[in-house]
Structures are given as structure tokens and as C-alpha cells.
């Protein structure tokens, strides 16, 4: 009985938190974040990511103690870069994302998610010129993922992106489907039990990981 009560209470509480009802002091922040995050699911074209990044950046400009808006501004900018077809334009976009990550890291250097994002940004840098950049940036990406792992071993996105790194790496360098699969499996396991530590904290990647796992079969 007690258990049921607790469960109920937590559900209600978390619902209340996510809908931003409980908190009154930061209601504007929560409303803005909630609205922006809702939009994230319904982005139609690539420029939508840039608009959304702008939105998060506006929030970040105001909330000088929150790392999360800066995280999402960088995240959206990086996602945007993945689909940018003009290779010459990718680096300046990623430079922009990097300034947002730097900003967020200043607020919370011990945040595993920020290091995951940092690694993802390095992966994006590889795309500009895989032949010459592959070695340097895949190493830097892995260093960032290792750092993220040291801060929170339960973060599933670390293993998902590490798996991606391996999947994109030619077999003779130690990559390929077989090398990547155990990483995706590990990520899958972690996704099962993962709960974001704070409101609006990153909670993406589960579906993408499942897709990647399928690709490895």
C-alpha cells in the first residue's frame, strides 16, 4: 500500500514538474523550455534546427546559471550540421555549437551529457573530410566519451555514440558492424533504466540506438 502511494506520488510529482506547474519561481523558463522541446519533435526541414537553436540560445542568454538551454542550442546546431550539404559551411556552424558547449561547460564541467555532446561535435567535424580528419577527430571524440563515462557510467548516449564511431570506421581500423554491435547492446541496456537527473535534461537516443542495432544484425 505504501509502495503504491509512493509510486503514485512520484508519478504525479514528475508529471507536475514536467508540465512546469509546480515551480512558480521559474515558470517562464520552464514554459519556454517546454515549448521549445515540444517543437523539437516536429521539425520539418533542416533549417528548423537552426531556428530551434536560436530559441534555445535566447533562453540561454537569459538563464545564465542553467547549462541545459546552452546544451540544446549546441545540440540543435550540431544536428543541423549533419545535414548541411555544403561542406565549407559545416565548420563555422560547428564553431558556433562549440561556443555554446564551452558556455555550458563553464556552468557545469562535471556534466556527463555535455561531454557526450562534445564527442558528437567532434564526430560531426569528421564528416567534413573523413580521409584527413578521421584519425584526429575520432580520437578526440573517444576522449570526450571516456570523460563522459567517468562522470556517469550509466549514460546510455555514450555507448550509442561510441557504437556510431565504430560503425563508421572501416573494418581494417578496428571498426565495422561486429565491433559496433556490443556498444549498441550496452546502450540499449542502459536506456532501459535511464532517468534524466534533472528537469529537461537530455533523454534522447533510445530509438536511434534501436535502429543502429538493427543495422548491425
Amino acid at each position: 500500500m505504501f509502495k503504491i502511494k509512493t509510486v503514485l506520488l512520484t508519478t504525479v510529482l514528475s508529471f507536475a514538474i514536467t508540465s512546469g506547474l509546480l515551480a512558480q519561481d521559474k515558470s517562464e523558463y520552464k514554459q519556454a523550455m517546454g515549448a521549445a522541446l515540444t517543437q523539437m519533435g516536429s521539425i520539418k526541414d533542416n533549417s528548423g534546427y537552426l531556428d530551434l537553436a536560436n530559441q534555445f540560445q535566447r533562453i540561454a542568454e537569459n538563464e545564465t546559471t542553467e547549462w541545459i538551454p546552452a546544451y540544446y542550442a549546441a545540440f540543435c546546431t550540431t544536428l543541423y550540421s549533419f545535414k548541411e550539404t555544403d561542406k565549407a559551411k559545416v565548420d563555422p556552424v560547428l564553431d558556433q555549437a562549440q561556443t555554446m558547449i564551452d558556455k555550458a561547460l563553464k556552468l557545469k564541467a562535471s556534466e556527463s551529457e555535455l561531454w557526450v555532446l562534445q564527442g558528437m561535435l567532434y564526430q560531426a567535424r569528421i564528416m567534413v573530410d573523413p580521409m584527413t580528419r578521421g584519425q584526429k577527430f575520432s580520437m578526440q571524440a573517444n576522449q570526450a566519451f571516456d570523460k563522459a563515462e567517468s562522470l556517469n557510467i550509466e549514460n546510455p548516449r555514450i555507448y550509442y555514440l561510441k557504437g556510431q564511431n565504430l560503425l563508421n570506421m572501416p573494418a581494417m581500423f578496428g571498426g565495422g558492424k561486429e565491433a559496433a554491435k556490443p556498444m549498441f547492446l550496452k546502450a540499449n541496456e542502459k536506456f532501459m533504466s535511464f532517468k534524466p537527473a534533472e528537469l529537461f535534461a537530455p533523454n534522447w537516443g533510445k530509438e536511434q540506438n534501436e535502429q543502429s542495432l538493427k543495422a548491425c544484425q
Partner: protein, 728 residues
Amino acid sequence: MKSLLLLFLILNATTYCLAQTTISGKVTDKSGQTLPGTNVFIKGSYDGASCNVDGVYSFKTRKTGDQILVVTMLGYEKQEKPFTVTGKEVIMDIKMSETYNELKAVVITAGSFEASDEKKAVTLKQMDILTTASAAGDIYGALRTLPGTQQVGEDGRLFVRGGESYETRTYIDGMLVQNPYASKVPDIPSRGRFSPMLFTGTVFSTGGYSAEYGQAMSSALILKTEGLAPKTITGISLYSLGAGMNHTERWENTSLAMSLDYFNLQPYFNLVKQKVKWDIAPISLDGNLIFRQKIGKNGLLKVFSSHADRDLQLQYPDDTKPDRIMPIRIRSTNDYVNTTYTTPLNTKTFLFVGTAWSNNLDRKNIDTSRLRETDKSFQARISINHHFTNRLGLKTGIEMTNEKFNQDFFNSLDHKDYITGYNETISAGFIESEYVPVNKLALRVGVRSEYSSLLQKSNVMPRLSMAYKTSENGQISLAYGMFYQDPSATSLRFTHQLGFEQANHYIINYQVNKNDRIFRVEAYYKDYLHLTRYTIENDPNPLSYNNLGHGYAKGIDFFFRDQKSIKNLDYWLTYSYIDSKRLYNDFTQTATPSFISSHNANAVVKYFSAKLSSMVGLTYSFASGRPYLNPNSSNFMSDRTKSYNDVSMNLSYLTNFFGNFTIIYCSVSNVFGFNNIYGYHYSTVADANGQFTQREIAPDAKRFAMIAVFISLEKKKRTANSSITSVF
């Protein structure tokens, strides 16, 4: 009453708060181009919007009174515009100005080809040098596929735009390399001493270069080594001609790399017949030691040192006596140490201090005579680079170069020693400013001055260049410069009563770079003044030398590269036309020198197959006939060799060898076996009919083949792994 007033106020405030004001407008750049994606918002609020595809923004705000509108866009200066919300709709159009952007700003391209992995606007990647088929791993070989260079098959050194090989100088991290090539063997091409794997950036300048570089009339090859080595790694190289090992150790702020290579061509020469009779096939031992130390937050100390030993002996025709051959043995030792230190003095100023020390010893036995040649040089340089703003920079520095050249020739005919040499110290200073007033326009103005203690003369050399962006992808670049250089050792060791030789460069360049396709065309005119003349080579009489020579070179170079049209295929095509004549050395009249072919063309093709983990490279080189001096003809330098053709191929296969990343590489030159003739030697004595006997200068063997296996061993778990670049 009081409470009523309060209520009124509250009500009023509430309605005021609820009233939203629309803020809208259009954001454009200076030229009126709309800027979609611009972030527009009110400072200190969440109210804002992004511009749509038409550059229009619109949002509502509840704020009132004096506010600040913030406008940000990638690549443009952030703007903050104060305005007042009175309740009426606000319309504000905004004009944005571009920020200085290294990637967007125009780069001066006149006279230079740059290979870099870090910068974007380059024509080549460092890897391209490694994978060019005809280069066979030689930097200079790869550069010979670029326009403006000559195919001088029997020499191997770079001849750029009508210039002799000594007119091209090589620099590592800004410091001079006195002997960049392996010591010269008659009629056998020299290779560069340094492996292209050592460098992360290459600037090959075919003219009009910066005031930083002096004592080079034609060309500067500027090589940049990497900083701290990325990781600990061990490599093994097995060649059909030898073997090598390298190891790199990386600590937090320090790295040390060592490599050792041994080559012996004897087994290969046993297998493949050579025209030359080799008594001792070339043997060499090369070692490198590369140390890096991070000092403070951004300071870096680099030490690069190399040692090389070579030995060979061949039988060479004695042109003074018919049908006689004589042994020539060449033993050489070269040491080179290059130390540089760079550190920021503050956020805008950088300090560079560098030294280069070089010691080259060649011992040659020619028949029964002996020649001992030492060339020692030392260079020190200090320079400061200051950025007043992003758009205006100034670089200034001083430099001292000392060269001691000594030749001891023991002539077995008269049993006498002939000792010649010189000791030259050149002091130099330069100052150069780079100014980018707008991203479209870049200017570089510099001046260099030198004083030679040997010639007791000084010079002043202005250098000017600029680039202007004519469209989003096209640009025009211009360069002008004066270049002075000491006469070559051939004359300086007999006389000091000479002046600087001089070349003036005028260059115009047009380049389009779009979607992984580059087209560039460059026209140039070069004026040569005060070239050294003498009556006979090696004349010990100082009075037979003068500075009255002159010449010119003019031409046009084309370069086209396409990495886009066919997936995984990358190719470049070049064509150069040159017209050059000079009166110098022992020329009796103005003529085109023997190292010049009027038409040069190259096609370099590379195909990468990820499926097969292989890369195939193909190079075709063409050069029209070169002039040669025929003593049987009454016309000076009017004979031409037949044209030169070569098709070279290479293949790299990437694989795993017991879990270690491995590259198997093979290359073959002159696949189709063209009979190339570089020129002719003539006997010095006429036969009974008064004719001089002719002898071909041709490659030692028609083809040259090489197989190599590179294995890289890594101690740590293989997560990051190496790519092709680390092992080649």
C-alpha cells in the same frame, strides 16, 4: 479612495502587461542580401524570433518602455539596437556587417600552392603528396606534378619557372634547410631527404612570396611539422629495398618520435638490370629524432634533427677518352638540427625564435682523384607577429645565416690539392603587414633587406601581393616582388667579386573554387638580372667571373582539380607553357637552358574503393623536348631532345595484420616503358672526322618498382586507431 486608486493601478498594469506589441522587420547584409536564420530578440527576455527564408522576423512582446533588440547571425557582427515600446507596432529593419572570418576572407593565392589539413581554402591535402603515383613518396616528386615545374629526370631537384635548382629553397618551420636533397650523383635523380609523413602542411610557392623568405630567386618550399605527436605508436616498414622502424611516445606535455630507415638497392639491382654498372649499389641509413615540449599554456618547443649516411660507387664514362669508364664513389653524411620556439606574449602578439644547423660532407673519388666537400650552415631568426585587429597584422623579424663551404680537390694528374671555398654571413631583416579591410580584399605589403659580408653588398626587396574576391567562389590575385640571391657555389668558391643575382616577379592569378572543384590559371613574367657569367666552368681565375648575365621567363600555368564529379575519384590536370631564355654561366649567347621544356602537362588520378580497402593512383606526365648543346652543330643550344612521357602507377591496400593496421603499397614508374632521353653528353675530344661522340642521358632502368609494407602497432586498446596518414 486610496484602495480604489491601487485597484485602478493594478488593473491598468494588468491590461498593460497583457497587451502585446508586435516587433518585426527585415535583416539584410550590407549588399541587401537577406539573412534567413538570424536570431532577433529583446535583451533580458525570451521574446524573439528567427528570420524566415525572406529574412523577415516578427514576434510579440509584453515588454514596455526602453528595450534593446539583439541581432545575432553566424558570420556577422552582433548588433544591439535600443528602441522604445510604446504600444504601437515596431518595425525595425537591420543591416548586418560581416565579421572577419578566416574561412570567408579571401586568401592570397598568386604564386602559391598550399597543402594543409587544417585550413580549408587549399588546393591540396597533405595526403595528396603521399599518394601521387609518380612521386614514389618524394615530396619533390609530388610537386613536379604541379604547374610551373619542370621534368628534369636526370636531376630530380625542383626547377621552377625558368629558374635553376639552386633558386628554390626549402624551409622547415620557417628555418632554412641548406641541403634538402640527397647528394647529387651524375645523371641519377636526387630525392628529398625528408619523408612527406613528417609534415602537416606544405606551401609551395612558385613566385611572389612573402618578405619572410630570402635568398631564393624562384621558389620557396615551406614545410610545417606537426605539434605534439597525437599518441604513442610504433611502426614497422618493410620495403623491397630495405626496412625501417619508428616509435612515437606521447606524454602529457611532451612527445618524442624516433625513426630509423635502412636502404640497400643491391638486391633490387640484382633482380632488375640497370644500365649503369654499380660497384656499390646505393646504401643509406637515415635517422630522425623529433622532440616536442609544451611550455606554459600556449608555448611550444620543437626540435627536429636528422642524420643520413649514404654510400655508392658506379662506373661512369670518361668523356675525355673514348670507350673508357672510370669509377666514381660518393660517400656523404648529412646532419640537420632545427629548433624553434613559439609563444604568445599576449593575446595579440606571438614570438618566434628559431635556429637551423646543417652539416653536409661529401667525399667523392673520381677515378684516382679525390674531392672532399663540406657545407656547414647555421641560421638564427627571431620574429614577432602582432595583430592590431583581426584584420590588420604585422610581422617583423631579423635573421642571420652563415654558410661555410669548402672544397678540397686532390688532382691525381698533377698530385696537387686545390682548395676553394667561402665563408658567407647574410644578415637580414624584414617587415610585412597583412591587411584585410573587408572579407573580399586582402593586401600584403612587405620589405626585406639583406647584407652579405662576403660580397660586401646590401639589397632592399619590396614585396607586394593582393587578392580580391570577384564572386562567391572566384578570386583574382596579384603579386609582385624583388628577389635577390647569392651566386651559386660554383662561382662563389672562386671569386667574391660578384654581386647578388636578381629576379623580379610579376604574377596574376585567377581561381574558382566550387564544390570540390578548383580551376586556376596563372600568368607570370620574371625578369632576371645580374646573373653570373664565366667562360669555362671551374675556372680558378676570379677575373673570368662577372655579373653581366640576364634573362627572362614568362608563361602561363593551368590547374584543374575535381573531387566531385565521380564518386571516390579524384584527379587533377595541369598544363604549363613557358618561354625562357638567359645569358648566364658559360653561355656564349642568349638561349633557352637545358632544363626547360616549353610544354609540361600532368594528369594525376586517384581512385579509392572502400569496399576493396584500396587506393589506386595513376600519373601521366608529359614534357616537350629540352634543348641541349651539340658541339657538332654550329648553332648554340638549338637541338631538342624528343619529348618525355611517363605513366606511373601505385596501389595501396589497407588491411589488418594480426590485429595491427597495415598498409601494403606498391608502385611502378613508366608502366608502358617509354624510351625517355633527358639529353646528351659529348666526348670532350673530337674523333678522326672532327666529330664529338654523343652519349645519351637516360634513366638507369626503364622502370622502377617498389613494394612496401607498413605495420603500425599500438599498445592501447584499439579504439581511436590510425588512419592512412599516420603510417605512410
